[in-house]
Amino acid sequence: MQPNLEPIILSRTGTMIAHKSFKIIVTLTLAFVLLPFFAFASANKVAEESEEKEFNPTDMIMHHIGDSHGWHFFGSGDNSVTLPLPVILWTDNGLVSFMSSEFHHDTEGHHIVEKDGQRFVNYHEDIYQLEEGVEAVEFDEEHHPLNASKPLDLSVTKNVAAMFLTVILMIWFFFGLASFHKKKAHAPKGFNNALEALVLFVRDEIARPQIGEKKYMKFMPFLLTVFFFIWITNLMGLLPGAANVTGNIAVTVSLGLFTLVLILVNGSKDYWKHTFWMPGIPTWVKPILAIVEGAGIFIKPIALMIRLFANITAGHIIILSLIGLIFILESHGVAGISVPFALFITILELLVAFLQAFIFTILSALFIGMAVEEHEHH
């Protein structure tokens, strides 16, 4: 009897799987059919609003990829749902801080916040300190404020908050994995196993071949941190309403500077000799090569920084432009084309998110490997 049962169970699980995948197919089809209608509904709403305010695609895109003093989720004007974040300013009279909600979603410089006798406005996400008796900030032709000053802005902005979130996630993931290995000797299960596979990927595919067997362990903490930081922030940046952290040039500059400092600090004697006085070539070529190689030290991290920034920003701009087409052409038929295209690009961005983290890490490892390498002398 026993062997006869098996095919029945198998066929039952087979139909169950078939039933499940049928459900998924129906959901996906419905989503595709309904998405243009949802887009149509919101397009109508915007069209009604645009009688007062013309839709400007450039402003919309710049607002989405830029940083801001509050974490805006949805809605517009007074109805918007925004997570208030602390605004921290260094003024002539010391540190001033208040929550961004005190601006009441205003970014046009109308709403004045008064703290310790100092008055601040938020004009296009720049905080200005108004002079005595001034009601609104005014600019000259080169966009310098005439009647206000710009205090040093140390605020926890949307990007900084998103970075804190990534840091918390990373601490949670990796301290969990580390404490597991302290307690138990066997292989981890589930999520920890997936993390360990990625850690080993960074070690065996990135660090070991590029830096070399002898020295790679010294740079593993940096490479792992950079890899997971970039990957997790990239993925979180793809969520609706999330911050565009790695598409911010200041963030990528800092990441590039870390690599530059590591190269400068760990460069071996051979590396500096090969950079500024290359052996084995005619003497008159040596100074020319020294200039080129010297510039190369700084061009390498600059290329790293531009690549990450431009890739992520370009991805966000493409998605927003495709969605923006609906509102530019003011027709719901466009949504049927542009929404699937935006979905396609979003899925492509999932790949780009990983690829950029991988490329940043592998190129950092390559540059560090070039710096620490010790040549055999002939």
Partner: protein, 74 residues
């Protein structure tokens, strides 16, 4: 005048992308050839291909960023 600036910036970005397209295409094509010759070395070839493609792509992105700055500062 502003339209001319935007047009020139777009043309510049297009030229940068053209060069990068040829470059990445050649790298990809050569990698395909190499993998067809030696399928067992495909892992190493892929890593080298991605590094080379990233370096070429970096140049194109310099062009795109320069064009973007050209548009945004006018």
């Amino acid at each position: 005048m502003e339209l001319l600036h935007v047009g020139l910036a777009a043309l510049g970005a297009g030229l940068a992308v053209l060069g990068a397209g040829v470059g990445v295409g050649k790298i990809g094509g050569s990698a395909m050839d190499a993998i067809a010759r030696q399928p067992e070395a495909s892992g190493k070839i892929q890593t080298a291909m991605i590094i080379a493609a990233a370096l070429v792509e970096g140049v194109a992105l310099f062009g795109v960023v320069a064009a973007l700055l050209g548009v945004l500062t006018t």
